[in-house]
Structures are given as C-alpha cells and as structure tokens.
C-alpha cells in the first residue's frame, strides 16, 4: 500500500546508503598488530561434513566450510552483523519485493563473471525437490512460492526470484520478511556455476572440480580427516583476506579435540567437552571463549499422552526444576536459564517468562504439589524420560529426575536411546518427556515459535493454541517491526501459558582459541564465522 511506503522507503534508503558507506567486512586488523609470516589456520570442525554442496549442507560443520567457499547476496561479519556480499546494494521497492544490485567484476573462482542468472539457477536448484535438499523447507517459506516449489506443488520457474538484468536480481517474498537480508547470507542462496554441475554432476564438489565464489577455494578433501582451503585470489575482496590456508579437521570426540589443542596440533577447539569448562577456564584464561548462542535446551512434553495432557501436570513438572542450580552448578558453563520459547538476543520478539520464576523454590514446590494433587497424580507415579546418548544430556536428565523425585515424589524411568531412534520416537509421539534442543536457523523469533505452533513439522509436543497462531500470522503480515515484535511476544506468552514444553537453558558456545588467532567475536550469536575475517598474530 502506498500509505505505508514512505516510512519504509526512507528506511531502505538509509539502509542502502549505510551499506554503500560501510566498508565490506574485511579482516580488519587493528592498527599496530604484527602479523605472522605464516598465515595458516588449523581448526577443529566437529564431525565430518556430510557434503560441501551448499544446497545440501545441513549440519553446522558443513555450513561453516561452505561459508568460506561460497558467498551469497549478503554475508555475516565476525560480530554476526549482516554485510554486503556479492550484492553491493539493495532496495526494498515494496514490502514484499527487493531488488539487489550485484557488484561489478564479481567472479567465480575460475574467472567466469557472476551474473544474476547464476543466483536464479542456484536458488531454483536449492529448492528443487529433485535436488532433494533436506534443508529446503527450513528457508523456503520466506521466498514467494518457495514452499510450493519445495513440496513439488509448483514448478521451479514459479519461484519468486528473477534476473532483471545481468546484475540486477529481483526477489519476492510471500509476506514482508524483516530479516530477509540475514536469511540470504546463508550459502544455500549462493550463486552456482551451472556449467560445472552440468560437467561433473555429483562430483562437482571434489577438489579440482569445484567452482565457487567465496574467499577460499577447496584444495584438499581427506574424508574423515581434514578439509583444506586456500585463498581465492579471484574473490572480489581478496586484498583484505589475510589467511592463505585454512584446515578444518574432522575431530568427533571433544576430549581428543582438547588434547590436540593442548599439543599444538590445532589452533581452535570446536566445542568443549561437558563439565570441562570450569577447569579449562582456569588453565587457559586467555584462550577460553564463551558466548551465548541462539539455541534453546528444552524438554518436549507429549501433549497427547494420558498423563501429560493435563496442563497442571505439565506446569508442575516445569515449576520445580531449579534452573539456576542447573545453570550454575550442574552444567556450569555460563548458560542462561530460560523460561520461555523465545531466548535472549533473538530479533523479532522479547523474552517471555513465568510469574513463578521469581518465587522462592519452597513456594513453587508447594504450588506444584497442589497442582499434581488436583490432577490426581500421586507421589510414586512413574514417568518416563527419553534422551539420546550424550554426557551432557545425561547430566541434565539426572538433575531433572532428581528434582522431580525429591520435590514431587515422582519416579523417573530413564530411557537412553540412540539419536535416530530418539528422533523417530519423538516425531511419532512415542514418549512422555523427551530431551530436545533447537538452534536458530536465522535470527528471528519465528524460528523458535515454530516449535510450538499448530501443525508445525518441528512441533513434537503436538500442542496447538489457535489464538497464538492467529497472532503469529498477523505478526508476519505486519510491516511495522515494533508492532510485529509486540504481536509475536504476546503469541509466545500465550503459547507458553499452555506449558507445551519445559524450557531450560539457553545454549552457549564454550571453546578454546589460541590467543594468536585474531578476529573472533564472542558475541556472534549464531556462530556464523567466515575465515576471511581472521588473521594470525605474530607469536
């Protein structure tokens, strides 16, 4: 509507100017820092990446590597802010239409110029059911016809992306998406070199075949051992890329990871083993890093289970868990207690909590006991808790079980399952209480709200609050970000009053990084780093 445009176009104009004025996210080496002669970084990346094809990459580790090999319209800098990528500037011509202008001279790693058609090809390929990307439906809802294309209901040509000219790309969204720029930083939306795929087919991601447009190129891929990247001299910002070589090592066991760090084989630990934080913080004060991440640890409750379908039971279970002890003593690695589905630091909604969160524990226990009695659940009743094999989850689970036993007299039967079996049981509703965790796919509250929305694929609790659903839909259609935030926050509050699940803690990312590696920002909320922002200090 014309009415609401002026404010929006002013905003987008400011954005455009801001983008043009800002220096592209280069490795900003602070003045006076001497760089080492050898600029090579060896880092641990957790489990072996399942693929290096950006359209198929699903795991965090794989995306970490594709972020260095490919670049989309936008990108993230080391503090997690969205910065221009291949797109030099953009305009939001109306609430659901954006036009991106690609920078001149952007090339693929083999010298071929990047055109808007390459983006169209890449996006269509990503969402094409024939490509069979397991990550398609996560980001598809935000591009016009994206979901229909991913579900095979419409042909790929209907996707809301079009090349207006050689370097102008038009993107349409089904509803106003405030965080579109963040979303497009995902390498799933990177341009793809069609000729390479036509020539090599499935083998296009092998070293020597791969053509990308990121700051680095794929030099070597030793399966289950290491992925080695080297600097791409054809990258548009190559002059500010300091590192010449980055090696991602596939180290599955976090204890082995720490040992390799200690013996000097690696410069970075991917994530610390559970329980090691306090001790390693003492031994490596300069190298320890810990920042909150956009992730939520919670326990799913089967809202259809005969015992769990009573709201009073669910409320009681949630009330008695002392999240402060859980955070400070049991997990002891800087995690933040969570009392709602929206977590701190995410855009688009505020954190919600419960009124009883501030009560002293005695009062909470008394109230919970009363609720259980009303619901007819007597002390001594057995409840079943399902979790997957992991030291961390086990520790938290034992704590929860002990809380439920000492405070409510409930006997928890612990069921330790293999991960795939747990997922299946959770999806199929064969559980009472199950361990669950969710990491944000993009920086907006809707990525977490989907956990408790009606008919959502991600909702294993199978709860449904129509009113909240209504508010969320309204919020998505709203242009005014302030109003949207209010609507989503209210929706979150409403849903959580139903106690569909038990939120526990917000994730943090404890790791070790050698002090001679510069460029790391602890406050990067989604752990989306690019190697181009790092440098090795002389040591």
């Amino acid at each position: 509507m014309q009415k609401s445009l002026p404010s929006l176009s002013l905003l987008s104009l400011l954005l455009t100017l801001a983008c043009a004025a800002q220096s592209a996210g280069a490795a900003s080496v602070p003045a006076g820092v001497a760089l080492a002669a050898k600029q090579e970084w060896v880092r641990s990346n957790g489990a072996e990446p399942e693929t290096l094809d950006p359209a198929l990459a699903e795991s965090v580790g794989a995306n970490q590597i594709t972020r260095d090999l490919f670049e989309g319209l936008t990108a993230t800098d080391t503090s997690g802010k969205t910065v221009p990528g291949v797109a030099e500037s953009w305009k939001q011509v109306n609430p659901t239409t954006w036009v991106f202008t690609l920078r001149k001279g952007a090339q693929f790693s083999n010298g071929d110029p990047i055109s808007a058609e390459d983006f169209v090809y890449g996006w269509r390929r990503y969402l094409d059911p024939k490509t069979a990307s397991q990550y398609a439906t996560t980001l598809a809802p935000f591009i016009l016809n994206g979901m229909d294309v991913a579900e095979g209901k419409k042909p790929v040509t209907e996707l809301g992306v079009k090349a207006l000219t050689k370097d102008q790309l038009e993107v349409k969204t089904p509803f106003p998406v405030a965080f579109l720029l963040d979303l497009l930083a995902n390498t799933q939306f990177a341009p793809i070199h069609k000729a390479t795929i036509d020539k090599f087919g499935k083998d296009w991601t092998k070293p020597g075949n791969m053509v990308g447009n990121g700051a680095f190129m794929l030099k070597e891929w030793r399966v289950n051992s290491a992925v080695v990247l080297e600097k791409n001299s054809r990258y548009w910002d190559a002059k500010s890329v300091v590192l010449t070589k980055v090696s991602f090592l596939a180290i599955e066991d976090s204890n082995a990871d720490v040992k390799m760090f200690q013996s000097g084989e690696t410069d970075m630990v991917y994530v610390l083993p559970p329980g090691a934080y306090e001790q390693l913080k003492k031994s490596y004060p300069a190298e320890i890093k810990n920042g909150p991440m956009l992730g939520l640890r919670f326990y799913a409750l089967n809202n259809k289970d005969p015992m769990m379908k009573d709201l009073r039971v669910r409320k009681a279970l949630s009330m008695v868990i002392d999240r402060d002890v859980l955070a400070s003593k049991v997990t002891a690695d800087g995690q933040i207690p969570a009392y709602g589905v929206v977590i701190k630091g995410i855009a688009g909604a505020d954190v919600t909590s419960y009124d009883w969160a501030k009560w002293p524990m005695d009062k909470r226990v008394a109230e919970a006991k009363k609720l259980l009695a009303e619901a007819g659940v007597r002390p001594g009743t057995k409840i079943s808790f399902t979790y997957n094999t992991d030291q961390y989850h086990k520790k938290m689970a034992i704590f929860a079980a002990s809380e439920w036993k000492t405070k409510l007299g409930l006997e928890t039967e612990m069921d330790n399952l293999e991960f795939k079996v747990l997922i299946k049981k959770r999806h199929d509703g064969e559980f009472q209480i199950a361990r669950h965790g969710w990491i944000a796919d993009y920086n907006d509250a809707t990525t977490f709200l989907t956990l408790v929305q009606c008919d959502s694929d991600a909702n294993d609790n199978k709860n449904c609050n129509r009113k909240a659903e209504e508010l969320i839909n309204q919020g998505n259609q709203t242009l005014d970000p302030v109003k949207r935030k209010a609507l989503l926050t209210e929706a979150a509050r409403l849903v959580m009053e139903d106690y569909p699940m038990i939120p526990l803690l917000q994730y943090t990312l404890p790791r070790l990084l050698k002090s001679y590696v510069g460029g790391y920002f602890e406050s990067n909320p989604m752990d989306h780093f690019r190697s181009k922002d790092f440098y090795i200090i002389k040591h």
Binding site: N255, P273, G275, A276, Q279, V325, K329, V330, N388, T389, Q391, K394, K395, A397, I398, F399, S402, M414, D415, N416, L417, E418, V421
Partner: protein
C-alpha cells in the same frame, strides 16, 4: 614258611591314591600369584555385595553442593564424588556387582557355546566343520553395533539381555581357538587308539578331547573376561546396556577418562578396581591352566 617281606613295608611303599582334582588344587595353591589373586578377588566380591549395605549413601543420591569433590573423610566420601554429587565409593561397589555378574554370566555362556561349537567342528571335521566355521565367519562380519541396537529395540531392555548381547559377540573367538586345538588333538595317538578300540565318538570328545583343551580354554577364558566387561561398558555408553542411575565399572571408567585431568580420582578408583580384578583373573587363569595340565607332575 615265614613271609620274607614284611607286610607293612609293602603297604607303606605304595603311595595313597590321590584324585586328579586334589592334585590340581594342591598345584594351584602352590602358585603364589594365583592364590593371592583368588583371595583378593574374594575380598572384592564381598565388598561389592556387602559394602553398599553398610554405607550411608545410596548409589543414586545426588548432592548438588558436593559435586566433584576429591576423596575426603568429612561426610564419608572416601572415594570422592562424581560430577553430580554421588558418592563414588558406593557407585564403584554397586558398579562392581554389575560388572562382575555380567562378566561371570557372559563368560559362562560364551565359553560353553564356544567350546561346544569349536570342539564339535574340529572333531567331526569335513563338511560339518566347514559349515560351522563359515557360520562363525558370517557372524563375525556383522557389525556389533547393529546387532546391539536391533536386539535392544526389538527385545526390550533387560539386564539379562545385556548379558545375552555380549555373549553373542564373544563366543566366536573361543570357538575358533578351540576348533584349532581340537584339530591338533584329533590327530594324536591316544585318540587314534581310542577310535581303534571302538570308543564312541561322544565319549572320545568328552573324555579325551575336552580335558586336553582345558589349558587353552582356561587361558582364553581369562582373556574373554576383560573383553566381556569392556564390551559391557561400550554398550552402556551407547545406551544399550545398564541404564542410569545404575552403573558399572566400565561406565564409571569411561566417564572418569573424560575428566582425567581435572578429577583423577574418578578414574583411579573404578579403574583400580577393574584392573586389579582383571589381573587377578589373569593370574588365576594361568594358575588354573598350570594346575589342570595333565602333564604336570
């Protein structure tokens, strides 16, 4: 006519008949290491069975204010506590119950099955041997993780199931070793002789072959025991063995290995318990082999 040789002299010249088992027992006792090991093992078993009844803590009592403390006399945490505040001494003893029981039962099952299988295959020979050994080859190639997951999800979770699962992986080595030894014994003279005079096959197997297998069986059994106990810990770690809060030495050691640098007591005590037990088993095994050797005089 007066007897030239006094009766008493002839009688005392013949030594009293001793049963071979008594012989074996005497030889065993003479083996210092084996005897000491047996005594230590008995003490450990007693501690595991009776100890938890005497201690103030239960194996699942968590104490969030006493997490991960080193061994101390205050509060009677003689072995310290684990990262959830549970007393390690009690957990080590209770874990010992599980590990020892599993070790004993699984070893019993796999040894019986392995010896029977291997002896029959080795002795009968020919096509039967080939078939039986091919079956062993086939079972060997199947990844144990797969079998373990399947057995747990289909048959449910049960302590005896853990024993069964572990036995399922451990009997094949014994079968192969026994078969090899049987092949060798089969061609010995005394077996040929027995066959020549018409002793039935089953009798030959049980009276001649099996006693001569004892040596290698005993040794391999004392190799199987640690393997079985460690397999149990791997299974528990994968979620297919004993469930929390119940524990076993393998689980305790595995958890302890992860925090070795910061809380060494968590691995020292269960680790020492396991290592001592296994060493004792080794020495007892060697002692029994030496004692039962038909040629030792």
């Amino acid at each position: 006519m007066p007897t030239l040789i006094p009766k008493s002299a002839t009688e005392s010249a013949e030594p009293a008949q001793r049963s071979p088992w008594l012989d074996a027992r005497i030889r065993f006792v003479r083996n210092r290491a084996a005897l000491a090991s047996l005594l230590i093992l008995v003490c450990i078993v007693f501690a595991c069975v009776l100890g938890p009844l005497l201690l103030p803590y239960s194996y699942e009592d968590t104490d969030w204010n006493q997490m991960g403390i080193a061994p101390t006399l205050t509060g009677w945490h003689l072995f310290g506590t684990d990262e959830l505040g549970r007393d390690l001494l009690v957990r080590t003893l209770v874990g010992g119950r599980i590990s020892l029981t599993v070790g004993l039962l699984a070893t019993l099952v796999s040894v019986s099955l392995g010896v029977a299988w291997g002896a029959v295959a080795g002795f009968v020979g020919g096509r039967v041997d080939a078939l039986m050994m091919r079956i062993v080859d086939i079972l060997y190639a199947i990844p144990y993780l797969l079998i373990a997951i399947m057995m747990v999800t289909i048959l449910g979770r049960d302590f005896y199931l853990v024993v069964l699962t572990i036995s399922a992986f451990s009997w094949m080595d014994m079968a192969r070793v026994v078969r090899g030894q049987t092949l060798s014994i089969r061609s010995k003279e005394y077996v040929e002789a027995a066959r020549a005079i018409g002793v039935p096959t089953w009798r030959i197997i049980f009276s001649h072959v099996v006693p001569n297998l004892l040596g290698i069986v005993v040794i391999y059994t004392s190799i199987t025991v640690p393997g079985v106990i460690l397999t149990e810990s791997v299974l528990s770690f994968l979620g297919l063995g004993v469930q929390e809060p119940m524990t076993s030495w393998g689980v305790l050691i595995h958890d302890g290995a992860n925090v070795m640098a910061s809380s060494p007591w968590m691995i020292w005590f269960p680790g020492a318990a396991l290592t001592i037990t296994l060493y004792c088993a080794n020495f007892i095994g060697d002692g029994m082999r030496d004692a039962l050797d038909p040629k030792e005089r």
